[in-house]
Amino acid sequence: MDDRTTLEALRLDLTRRRLLQTGFGGVLLLAFGAVLPSGCARYSPVERSLRFLTRKEFAVVTQAGVRILGLPDSARESLGGSIDGLLVDLPPTSQSQARLMLRVVEHGTILFDLKPRRFTRLTPVEQDAYLRGWMESTLGARRVIFRALKALAALGYYAQTASFAEIGYDGPWIGRIEATGRVAHEVPVDLATVLAARRAS
């Protein structure tokens, strides 16, 4: 995948303007996100080397991912690795939006549940209640963030070949069938040839 296309993958695109359009909730979330701490001293180290996510973000996205998709805790490592690989090539604006989203989820416990502990410090049962709160919220902006998290988790998990068998999906057919009668697609030509042809015509 080349850079430009990869970076478009999963463009969460929670731009200021768009989030604001989801109403007052959007304004509130943005203002809140801006004042949140971003350090990760208190997060356990991650086994794999990360290309985009910080330890803190890895913890948030993987804990949320396994809760939302109902996966065992053991799936966290591969889920996080896969999401990290997808986010690394996003354009800087989208990357900062993704970071903001994860920060808001991590610290939103204070705002929405009046809990002194952040998301990653909650028990699994508390995490479920908290994330369900986002899914069912009356604030459009919170539901949007929930959807974005779910889509990110789905992409991180169900794109892995290892997950196919568990849902009875047989995966790509490439290499499994013989296809005859293919079109002979034109081979692109270099610029000099195009310019010469244009001049000649």
């Binding site: 995948m1 296309t5 768009r18 069912e136 692109p188 310019l195």
Partner: protein
């Protein structure tokens, strides 16, 4: 010929009779028709030139490669996910190949009541015929109707609803079911295998990986277009300048108005970017006792048109019901529920079937167009559309039960399950709110609408801009109302007609 943009190492200037912007259903057709009529054509496409085994049948690779904004383009409040292709061949490369002409009464309404003479069915018939022949549209065989489509057929026949096996532009389909990720085996009659090569054979130059940013004009006449290469040998963004006497804008219903605005073209009618119709879809999922393996085979092999009501004096109303399904990533992000219940549902993947409601919408959205950055899409479903949609959810559930479903899952964030036919109160209770349910749109349209009156419309009935001589629009932007059915053949037929008009009136332009 197709330019290998990896060899571009400087700014490029090209001269042609016609510059076509966008190589999808509208642009590719216009380019081929004009090139075959003997005009020199440059066809510029923002997306890459991909084909055959570039389509690797994996979602995480193909969504970002083939879809605009990686498949995440959405309305401003995230209620509707707007899918458009971004590649040589445009959205037709990812289409499900369903070929449906607009209802006859709708064309009658456009022609008689909206002043679009020449768009009535009889007059359009030759254009549809021509297009259908060139893209290989034919009725799929009953044995090609896949498990999911068969359920829609079975349920609706049982309830006495009108439906049919549709035409598809696919030839010797291998039934792998990866249509939405591009056809690895070239079995689609998409623009990539039909009109684009035809344009090239007739001498057109096809320029992929190049985003047109501006249409140029001088004293009310179009003079060409400029763009920027997204890929080059030097790694920098070189400019493309095309000098042309005719420009055909066919960048799709969101990007064409964007280019219009970036170019500061006149908007006397204050209509650019308005009148947006999305034909929004929602999907009702059903659990069957036996495997239906909905991801395999032809995705949309049956159409129920019982609930589309057409009358000659209005644009009509209602919806189509078509089969719908998705590969695991898209299915997992769209299926309702949380945690274990979501995982359980995914575990039932082979037994799931789904019906999409395709709404013939009256809601008018609009694009917020700024000179820089992608447009924000504003669209909030109006009252009568909302009522129809809620009715449609119940009808889709009804059909699923009639086809033997054990349970039906509604398209909300939360898991809302219906276990008994007729127990549809949850639909009324929940209604429609921002981002819940999630809608999909595969056919944005109407944002540079066609009309005789220059005070109300952007282009005239031939697709030519009221305010700029030689500038034509030939994509889904021109529809005056929702077209009620999947849009590809209508876009192609209108583009053929526009090309014909240019050829017939060549002395005005060349």
């Amino acid at each position: 010929m197709i330019l290998d943009t990896g060899t571009v190492d400087a700014d490029v200037e090209l001269r042609a009779d016609v510059c076509v912007i966008g190589s999808g259903a509208g642009g590719a057709v216009a380019a081929a028709e004009l090139a075959e009529a003997g005009y020199s054509v440059v066809l510029v496409e923002d997306g890459p030139y991909l084909h055959g085994e570039d389509f690797v049948q994996r979602e995480e690779v193909m969504y970002p490669r083939l879809y605009r904004e990686g498949g995440t383009r959405a309305t401003a409040d995230y209620t509707v996910l707007v899918s458009q292709g971004r590649a040589v061949g445009g959205s037709t490369v990812v289409s499900f190949c369903l070929c449906v002409r607009p209802p006859r009464p709708l064309l009658g309404y456009w022609s008689r009541h909206l002043g679009l003479a020449g768009l009535e069915h009889e007059a359009m018939h030759p254009f549809f015929r021509r297009v259908e022949k060139r893209i290989g549209a034919q009725r799929i065989l009953p044995e090609q109707v896949n498990g999911n489509s068969a359920k829609l057929r079975q349920g609706s026949e049982k309830l006495g609803y009108r439906g049919y096996i549709p035409l598809h532009n696919r030839v010797d389909c291998l039934l792998t079911g990866f249509c939405a990720l591009g056809c690895t085996y070239d079995r689609k009659g998409d623009m990539l295998t039909t009109y684009v090569p035809a344009a090239s054979r007739a001498g057109a130059v096809i320029v992929p990986d190049c985003e047109i940013t501006q249409v140029r004009t001088d004293k009310g006449r179009v003079t060409g277009a400029v763009g920027v290469f997204r890929r080059s040998r030097t790694g920098t963004e070189h400019a493309l300048t095309v000098t042309a006497r005719v420009v055909v804008l066919a960048a799709g219903a969101i990007n064409s108005p964007r280019i219009w605005r970036q170019s500061r073209l006149p908007d006397q009618a204050d209509a650019v970017g308005r009148n947006l119709r999305l034909q929004p879809q929602v999907v009702v999922t059903a659990l069957y006792p036996e495997p239906v393996e909905s991801w395999k085979g032809i995705p949309q092999g049956y159409v129920v048109d019982e609930f589309l009501t057409m009358g000659g004096r209005s644009a009509g109303s209602g919806y189509l019901l078509v089969p719908a399904f998705a590969h695991p990533v898209a299915a997992a992000s769209m299926l309702p529920g949380y945690g274990d219940e979501h995982r359980e549902l995914m575990g039932l993947y082979p037994r799931l079937g789904a019906i999409a409601v395709l709404l013939h919408d009256h809601t008018r959205g609009r694009l917020e167009l700024e000179e820089a950055g992608p447009p924000a899409v504003s669209y909030r479903l109006g009252g009568s559309d909302e009522d129809r949609l809620l009715d449609a959810l119940a009808k889709a559930a009804d059909i699923s039960f009639a086809a033997g479903a054990e349970k039906v899952f509604l398209p909300y964030n939360q898991m809302v399950t219906i276990t008994k036919r007729g127990a549809y109160q949850p639909i009324r209770d929940r209604g429609v709110r921002v981002n819940d349910p999630l809608f999909l749109s595969y056919q944005p349209q109407g944002t540079l609408r066609m009309g005789r009156d220059r005070r109300k419309a952007v282009v005239d009935p031939n697709g030519e801009a009221h305010a700029v001589r030689g500038l034509f629009v030939a994509d889904a932007s021109v529809f005056p109302t929702s077209v009620a059915v999947p849009a590809q053949v209508t876009v192609m037929a209108l583009a053929t007609r526009t090309a014909q008009h240019i050829v017939d009136h060549a002395d005005r332009y060349f």
